[in-house]
């Protein structure tokens, strides 16, 4: 029991931090531009695929740097030549544009890399168990993922609180309409934020690719979860995104690791059920089964009872 | 009986008190103006009466019924309509549709999805008549968002009066207009609100003293005086707080 708990916590942490790497970029972009970028997870997928292709020539480490930069540049170009054009048609059009982009990127990935899963592996140097607990191994690569994620947050925190550009961005988050009046080049800042945000997503893809497998559906799998996180955390709140990321990561990890289900609950309550009853799908549900829908359940509940999210102040 | 009664009305945002213990009675048929320096809480007072904001304490009675903390649509249905300081219309709908929508509830159509608007003769006639009244008949098929500013203000007024409400709140109806436009607008307001009870917030003192039967002066969320125009003009407290600093008819709007 105890070992299950520890590993579930560690795995939840890995997932949660990974999710936050996506959610932080998404939140920054939303705060600045008011756009919920539907294609955010698609950039994450591109990160994984770019890193895979680059690593074929150079190995993992150069890809770790190059792939996110490429993704970021691509993101900036999308902002400059796509999103900016759509901006004048309003937020719904922007949301639909990013939705179409997500669709397009998935098709493009299939075009360039095919439908099959790519054999994108973690570097050999990290291919060892970091420690063994109760006979179970914890891979060093996962520790590396945690390390990278935390390093990124520290860097992000530093940039946001200690640098000029960070302070402008913060001002833009809290007072979205006034920054333009200060004479800063807002379009350039938008492009930069979009580039950095998508670059972060790309980095998440680079480090997650080997663990979560690199295949054309990987954006779909994570995309709506990241969306759920920024909404649950409160649109535009970085702290909320962090809390929600960890919450969802841990929740899913615990749900998968546990073997509890409705039968246990019913036994405990002393209720029995008929085998052939039409509703017995419900009575036989187990936590691992419903793990994938927990985030959406949480989302719907949060939106009903607290539409601005856990940490949100602004409602769009 | 007075039509509208504000009793001990207060509103605060966080620790900031915007409206402090306001008591006011408006008689049926009265034309009442609320004046006061910028930030005195005039718009907030309107938002409280019309249901846009909830009150912090106190009560608002309209025709003897408490209306504070009710939804705007409930208050509107009782016969209390308002216009907005910043034009607040349906920009993509045509001018005609704007007016027709504003008439729907009062003419009993409610949420009907079984009646066709095209066949609603009385409704359409009333819409045409109202368009004539506010002088926008020639513009009836234009999307409302494409009207000129003064025309949008006229439409704003038209939407407010369409429901046939007994009491109408007008929030700075001539703000931002040229002198000629303002004169026309005032004539229009007089015409369409004849026989109705009116409360208006306005910065143009000439218009206020010209139109109002009674004037209330709001300073820092408190009503410091409420009386007929001639008495307000002579009131030392008002002059000190307001008129003494701002020349009547001055352009601080």
């Amino acid at each position: 029991m105890f070992e299950v708990l520890i590993f579930a916590t560690l795995n939840g942490l890995v997932t949660g931090l990974l999710l936050f790497m996506l959610a932080s970029g998404l939140t920054l972009i939303f705060s600045m531009m008011g756009v919920l970028n539907f294609a955010h997870a698609s950039f994450y997928m591109l990160g994984a695929y770019f890193a895979y292709s680059i690593s074929l020539y150079t190995g993992f480490w150069p890809a770790l740097i190059l792939a996110p930069v490429l993704v970021g540049v691509l993101g900036a170009l999308v902002e400059r030549y796509g999103l900016r054009r759509v901006h004048k048609s309003g937020h719904v059009a922007e949301l639909i544009f990013t939705f179409g982009l997500a669709f397009l990127i998935e098709e493009a990935v299939q075009f360039f890399w095919g439908r099959a899963t790519k054999d994108y592996r973690s570097p050999d140097i990290l291919d060892f168990p970091l420690f063994t607990l109760f006979g179970q191994n914890f891979p060093a690569y996962k520790a590396f993922m945690i390390f990278i994620s935390i390093a990124i947050f520290i860097a992000l925190y530093f940039v946001l609180t200690r640098t000029r550009i960070g302070i402008i961005i913060q001002a833009a988050i809290t007072h979205p309409h006034t920054v333009g009046n200060l004479g800063h080049n807002v379009p350039l800042i938008f492009m930069a934020v979009f580039g950095v945000g998508t670059g972060l997503a790309g980095l998440a893809g680079v480090i997650a690719g080997p663990v979560l497998t690199t295949f054309p559906g990987m954006a779909m799998v994570l995309g709506s979860i990241v969306f759920v996180i920024v909404v649950i955390g409160g649109l535009g709140s970085l702290a909320g995104a962090l809390v929600a990321s960890l919450l969802i990561g841990l929740l899913q990890s615990y749900a998968i690791a546990s073997d509890l289900g409705m039968p246990d609950l019913l036994n405990w309550l002393g209720v029995s059920f008929e085998r052939d009853h039409p509703l017995n799908d419900i009575w036989r549900l187990t936590l691992p089964q419903i793990a994938p829908i927990l985030p959406y359940l949480l989302l719907v509940l949060v939106l009903i009872f607290r539409p601005s999210g856990l940490f949100g102040k602004r409602e769009s | 009986m007075s039509l509208l009664q504000l009793q001990g009305l207060s509103k605060q945002f966080g620790d900031t008190k915007i409206i402090r213990d306001v008591n006011l009675e408006i008689q049926p048929g009265e034309k009442h103006a609320i004046i006061g320096p910028n930030g005195a809480g005039k718009s907030t007072l309107f938002h409280l009466i019309s249901g846009r904001y909830h009150v912090s304490s106190g009560s608002i009675l309209f025709k003897g019924t408490p209306i504070h903390n009710r939804s705007p649509f409930e208050i509107t249905r009782l016969g209390l309509a308002r216009s907005f300081q910043v034009t607040n219309i349906f920009p993509l709908l045509s001018v005609f549709e704007n007016v027709r929508c504003a008439l729907l509830w009062s003419m009993g159509y409610r949420y009907s999805f079984w009646q066709l608007l095209g066949k609603a003769q009385a409704l359409n006639d009333r819409t045409e008549a109202l368009l004539d009244e506010i002088g926008l008949h020639a513009r009836r098929n234009l999307p409302a968002g494409e009207l000129a500013y003064a025309e949008q203000r006229a439409l704003e007024l038209g939407i407010a009066i369409a429901s046939g409400a007994e009491m109408i709140l007008l929030d700075e109806p001539v703000a931002g207009m040229s002198h000629t436009e303002a004169t026309n607008a005032v004539a229009l307001i007089r015409k369409v609100t004849a026989g109705k009870t009116l409360i208006m917030v306005e910065h143009d003192m000439n218009i206020v003293f010209d139109m109002a039967d009674r004037i209330s002066v709001l300073v820092y969320g408190e009503i410091i005086a409420s009386d007929i125009p001639s008495k307000i003009r002579g009131n030392p407290r008002v002059q000190e707080a307001y008129l003494g600093e701002v020349v009547p008819g001055g352009s601080d709007a």
Binding site: V231, P292, Y296 | F73
Partner: protein, 407 residues
């Protein structure tokens, strides 16, 4: 009178269509179109007319469809005596119930909150459908048979063409009903709430109630579309209520044009045709669809219908002919450019040594082939760019009101 004539012509067209398109494939495409039209129109009740952006509209389509299949199964088992012609209504009523339940909490706000709830509910139901096997049938889905019910004037609906007339009749009724809804007080207030929910409250309407009515109506018609799907395909799976289907309907409505009643109809027809025809010729049709969608959002924010409607002013001014020549001059290099890009994409994707495109044969790894295509692409692109100023000039002229000639 004019509007009445439009509906008569519409009815005649849908009755006559199978006379011209008789093959099995074309009848099956017609059936798909009928279903897609109802679904896309129901979606536009939300987005175009009510301002509610939904990412989970397939929920009502799918739930209605599943219920309809269960109704088919009930007929098959002899549980009740019920005509297959009324099956779409079963789907519609179930869609309505589902929309009533979900709408009761999701229509509180429009905008992002509504969009996110619709996304969450969509994912929730799609994921649950794989768990709740007795109703949704798991991965395999639920299938039925439409031929068991009592015959309808001798029709037993064994053939697709019979299903076409059933689907077309329902499509006509649903389209008419949805059009009439836009002409009612509730329909018009949906537009008003879309434009300005706050002001709607100050003219006596609860914005939330107005949205709920549109939402429930939309769920009803989506359910009818789902019921038609059930009759046509006799099977429903998780795919019919997941995000892909929700995305598709958004695509149809948007490409067709949200601002016009006819927009989603055009979108449904064009996309169904593209899906069927393109998927016949290339495995990459989804890629082209994605590109087309993104380009539409960027360059035609009002969709195909919006593009057509832009020509109303030149038409009324009698200047439409000014545009004919510039359109031809621009569209020829435009089409060549697009086709050369497509050729390159297809050639890069082709695994065979010889690549045939529009009758021309290329060596897919040969430098010459690539060189030729790149040259054509570049040449046509330059020609396209050169033709644009003349087009803009002609457009300005065609829209200018000459002095003394008022419209």
């Amino acid at each position: 009178m004019f509007k009445f004539a439009v509906w008569i012509i519409f009815a005649i067209v849908i009755v006559l269509l199978p006379q011209f398109f008789t093959s099995l494939l074309s009848v099956s495409i017609l059936n798909q179109m009928a279903i897609a039209i109802v679904f896309a129109l129901s979606y536009n009740m939300l987005l175009g007319q009510g301002g509610m952006l939904s990412f989970g509209h397939a929920v009502y389509f799918g739930l209605g469809g599943f219920m309809a299949v269960h109704a088919l199964l009930g007929i098959e088992d002899g549980d009740y005596f019920f005509s297959v012609t009324l099956i779409p209504l079963v789907g519609g009523l179930f869609g309505l119930l589902a929309a009533l339940f979900i709408g009761s909490f999701s229509t509180h706000k429009a905008g992002t909150v509504f969009a996110m709830i619709s996304l969450g509910v969509g994912e929730l139901i799609a994921a649950s459908s794989l768990i709740l096997v007795s109703f949704f049938g798991g991965e395999a889905g639920v299938s039925g048979d439409r031929t068991y019910g009592p015959t309808f004037f001798g029709y037993d609906f064994a053939q697709d063409i019979q299903v076409y007339y059933l689907a077309a009749a329902w499509m006509f009724i649903a389209t008419l009903a949805m059009y009439l809804f836009t002409q009612t007080p509730a329909g018009r207030m949906a537009n008003a709430v879309r434009d300005n929910p706050e002001r709607a409250e100050f003219i006596g309407y609860s914005a939330r109630r107005v949205r709920l009515i549109s939402f429930v109506m939309s769920g009803f018609f989506a359910g009818i579309a789902g019921g038609l799907f059930a009759v046509n395909y006799e099977i429903l799976t998780e795919q019919n209520l997941n995000a892909v289907t929700s995305g598709n309907v958004l695509l149809m409505a948007y490409i067709g044009g949200l601002g016009f009643f006819i927009g989603p109809i055009i979108g449904a027809v064009v996309l169904t045709l593209m899906n069927s025809v393109l998927s016949h010729y290339t495995t990459l049709w989804m890629l082209y669809l994605g590109i087309m969608f993104v380009l539409t959002v960027m360059f035609l924010p009002n969709g195909l219908t919006g593009f057509l409607m832009m020509h109303r002013t030149p038409w009324h001014l009698g200047k439409i002919r000014l545009l004919i020549k510039p359109y031809i001059v621009t569209s020829i290099p435009g089409a060549v450019f697009a086709l050369s890009l497509v050729a390159m994409v297809e050639m890069a994707h082709s695994s065979e040594a010889e690549f045939v495109f529009l009758g021309a044969s290329f060596n897919s790894s040969g430098i010459v082939s690539w060189g030729v295509l790149i040259a054509i692409a570049l040449g046509s692109f330059i020609a396209l760019r050169r033709s644009l100023p003349a087009l803009r000039e002609a457009w300005a002229q065609a829209n200018a009101i000459d002095s003394g000639e008022q419209k």
